[in-house]
Assembly symmetry: C2
Homo-oligomer: 376 residues x 2
């Protein structure tokens, strides 16, 4: 069965990605693989021409092929002075590519800020909707301090901690990015419409689902991977024992991003999730300065590293010099990531780290390894 | 210059240790070395007979030789129904031996509890004198829960967190040990006299300084090493940024004991020290059950370890089997300690841990390494 598609042009990557965004639900790995293999346009052509499983076309997409017309969605976006951001655009943040097959097809965006700029130095500050005054106060303070330091605040525009984080950034005139689980033309939750409109004016509101889309449970779950991916560090301010914020925390951790958690009274159920994260290795965060430490790019270590170091360690074996070069000065890096940077297998890396530790040049921390402060 | 000493008997180790305790200040390494080399009695003989630096006798001890008569101190102790506990006594807790040269000569003790029993499964719960109601409430709850689980609570009988911890344990009828920086016959602080007398009735009050001694700053500082040494885990409940509790924390860490810190509001100065400890790798503790996890002896891992494990990993190299055997099942162990247990140098250990990590048999945690839950 083939559907007539007057708008369809296999060479129009942007239009095709808009169509994929409409046709699929977030995190559809089958769709991602098809688009990766053939390109968004040709892959869409396979679906429109009635292709079947033998070419990788899934039945679940067919239900949305009938009325499919991305021109309508783009026109809606236009009415809201929005824009579609797709991979390859100068505004596309390369951080999203770290999602691999889970990378969104595109982002529907409204707002004055440039997404790639905002993501260059960003902290995700998220937490429970059922927050306390303490949590909201802390989220606001941390976000304000981030904005003061030129760090964008990414969050989900939900009630509670998310809203407090956006407000804190806005209060300082800093850029803030709201990642929605619904269309950018229909802000949710309704009680935060004014806040979201203000973010669309002064910051950026983005979503991977097209205009008009309702926020479903599934979309909320997968939205969290975008929040984690867009920021160098994710900080959880308050979270119950089972909480949406803990999904964002897991995503951040899985992506190798820094994960911080704000402590609170042990008597507060709203902090139970944060304390669990702290027990699982998240970094204890109490001030905006500590958030900034998590955000500062790993590469900044190289800038601060005095040129003398290499000379001082001339008699180290070559492999240890490579590991030393790969060790960040400040923000610790996990072994797996170090192995990748140094281009070594884990046992070789581990042996080298052991030697460097003995020499006082490497320091093991809860979040991985870094150079010893005295090594430079 | 020789002083007549009618009480002196070089073969009386107990009396000689009482004399050393009176003659020196805590943590006198010179005295410890002399006693280790010659034994307490003969070393004391060297001092009494006017020995000099050539035999290791330090001038600083002479000031107290003149009136030295340990029989008086022992008589005072007797009046308080106390006893002197010395190394070699069945009641001497072997945990204190991990202090090495910093081990006290003896402990002056009052109370019904047996020190070796109390120390067998103990948690030190300590913190700020300038505590908040939140901190005191939490200390009481944790101590009560420890007592419920048969875990002794060791603390310093100070105002604030220490007192709350002792009270929590007493409320549950559990054993609690107060380690004083002054003589056990002159409780300090005065406001806690009733509490300390109650501990002397139902638990145990100990000190390394003889009866009548005043609590000096120096004695407070070194007293903290005894608190840390007597417990398998130290938990800091509230502590300011610079705090005596952080000395106890450092001692616990240096002794390879588990270190926990209780989080609190980031807005509370009384929790700032705890949050710093959490950032430095202390384990976040929020419940008595979590304290118990820290206390449960490392050896308990072996008990829970199914006998199949070794068979399953028969084809591992011998060195990896040794490391696997040394890995605790629950409570992580730092590399330096693992190297000691497995009898390997750090690089060899690190390489082996790398292989075991790759195989999914070892897990790196903020506090060191443990077996993977799936490895058994």
């Amino acid at each position: 069965m083939s559907v007539p598609s007057p708008w369809f042009d296999p060479d129009d990557d942007r239009m095709s990605r808009a169509a994929w965004s409409r046709m699929t639900e977030p995190d559809d790995l089958g769709a991602a693989r098809l688009v990766t293999r053939y390109g968004a346009g040709p892959a869409l052509g396979l679906v429109l021409s009635g292709g079947d499983r033998t070419v990788g076309v899934e039945d679940r997409w067919r239900a949305r092929v009938a009325g499919l017309d991305p021109r309508r969605d783009l026109a809606t976006l236009d009415r809201f002075r929005g824009r579609l951001i797709v991979p390859g655009d100068p505004e596309w943040p390369s951080l999203l590519d770290s999602l691999g097959e889970r990378r969104p097809f595109c982002l529907w965006a409204r707002g004055a800020a440039r997404l790639s700029d905002a993501a260059r130095r960003a902290a995700a500050i998220v937490g429970a909707r059922a927050s306390t005054e303490y949590g909201e106060h802390t989220a606001r303070e941390l976000a304000f301090g981030c904005a003061e330091r030129g760090i964008s605040v990414v969050s989900g525009a939900a009630y509670g901690i998310d809203a407090a984080a956006h407000l804190g950034a806005l209060a300082c005139g800093g850029p803030t990015v709201a990642v929605l689980a619904c269309g950018v033309d229909r802000p949710y939750p309704r009680g935060n419409v004014d806040l979201i409109e203000r973010i669309a004016d002064e910051g950026l509101v983005v979503s991977e689902v097209p205009p008009g889309s309702a926020p479903t449970r599934n979309r909320f779950v997968h939205r969290n991977r975008l929040i984690a991916a867009l920021a160098a560090a994710t900080v959880i301010v308050e979270a119950g024992w089972r909480s949406g914020a803990s999904i964002t925390a897991k995503e951040a951790d899985a992506l190798g991003r820094c994960l911080g958690a704000v402590p609170g009274p042990v008597t507060s159920a709203a902090s139970a999730g944060c304390h669990r994260l702290l027990r699982d290795g998240a970094i204890c965060v109490t001030t905006a300065a500590e958030v900034a430490e998590l955000v500062d790019p790993i590469g900044s270590a190289a800038v601060q590293q005095p040129p003398l170091v290499r000379a001082l360690h001339d008699d180290l074996p070559e492999v240890d010099l490579r590991v030393l070069d790969a060790l960040p000065l400040r923000q610790p890096r996990p072994s797996t990531s170090l192995a990748a940077v140094a281009g070594l297998d884990l046992p070789t890396l581990a042996a080298s780290l052991g030697r460097l530790e003995l020499l006082g040049l490497a320091v093991r921390t809860p979040r991985g390894w870094r150079r010893s402060p005295t090594s430079g």
